[in-house]
């Protein structure tokens, strides 16, 4: 029985979301990417509420890719909520944002984001960053819940969905 690798992408720009999802798919690592467009829906997803009330915590994302500038609830607030609830506090959160403001970087780390990545403007660098990110957080890094799956889900075309 193989667990699909879940990624939650919280990104309000449809173009950036398309580019990120395409890069993730090309790197053949993540196979179930959920994309939400604002912080409120992200919280509903993470806490299994609202339209996601039937989601099970067993399908919690392996990594949350979190933009900062989001409508309704901003990324920093989403992160704060993630870290202050025992159900979600250990989730791997990678801030993926255009903001390289020192204040945002500081706050992200202060709220214990696992990583802070500034989206490069150069698309080639961006694609490489997404690929490296995927390789690191989903393959190399041991997740909080331990390694239940390793090679079995990598490069398995039957599992590719998005």
């Amino acid at each position: 029985m193989v667990n699909p690798i879940e990624i939650l992408l919280v990104e309000d720009s449809p173009t950036d979301a398309k580019l990120t999802i395409r890069s993730l798919e090309k790197s053949n690592i993540a196979n179930r990417i959920t994309h939400v467009i604002d912080g409120a829906i992200a919280l509903d997803y993470l806490f299994c509420e609202g339209i996601y009330k039937d989601r099970d915590h067993a399908t919690d994302p392996r990594v949350v890719l979190l933009d900062i500038k989001l409508p309704k609830v901003n990324g920093i607030e989403v992160l704060r909520r993630i870290r202050s609830d025992p159900r979600t506090e250990s989730l791997l959160v990678v801030i993926l944002t255009s903001s390289e403001e020192q204040s945002d970087i500081a706050r992200g780390y202060k709220l214990h984001a696992n990583s802070y990545i500034v989206k490069p403007v150069d698309f080639h660098q961006f694609a490489e960053a997404i690929k490296s990110l995927g390789l690191y957080w989903l393959i190399l890094n041991t997740p909080p819940a331990g390694n239940k799956l390793v090679e079995s889900t990598v490069n398995d075309p039957a599992l590719v969905t998005a």
């Binding site: 580019l19 403007v121 698309f123 694609a127």
Partner: protein
């Protein structure tokens, strides 16, 4: 050419500097500084917002090449290469604007500059370059300023 220190009065101590930038009670200097800062922030905001669409230009033209180059006859490939070159050029310009605005938004770090020593060094450089000219230079000692 020779430099003779000590010949002129010490202006920075003998005459207090008049208040700069204020005329008829309106602090133009402060207004200028504020406007300058606003301009830098505006530049930063614009340049920052343009990054995402530029990334899209760059990214989707790369995607076109990666996925459809076999069905795209020339000069289609050249057209795409032109688009990519133009968007990269635009990005380089924007990065320049961003850098400039960042410099402008930083506080100026004022420090004491030894003007006498500065003038001595200018005078000695000039005398090396124009060694045939016979010029007398007088530099007051102990002058300094903030810069």
């Amino acid at each position: 050419m020779t430099a003779q220190p000590g010949a002129l009065p010490k202006t920075s101590r003998a005459h207090p500097r008049p208040a700069l930038g204020s005329v008829d009670g309106i602090d133009y200097k402060a207004k200028y500084v504020e406007l300058s800062k606003d301009l830098d922030e505006l530049l930063y905001s614009i340049a920052h917002d343009l990054r995402a669409p530029l990334r899209a230009l760059d990214g989707f033209t790369a995607a076109l090449i990666e996925e459809y180059s076999d069905v795209l006859a020339e000069p289609g490939g050249e057209y795409i290469a032109e688009i990519q070159a133009a968007s990269r050029h635009m990005r380089a310009l924007l990065e320049g604007v961003l850098l400039l605005s960042r410099l402008g938004r930083q506080r100026m770090q004022l420090e004491v500059v030894d003007l006498s020593a500065l003038m001595q060094s200018v005078a000695s450089d000039a005398s090396r370059v124009e060694s045939k000219r016979d010029v007398a230079v007088s530099i007051a000692s102990g002058c300094d300023g903030a810069g």
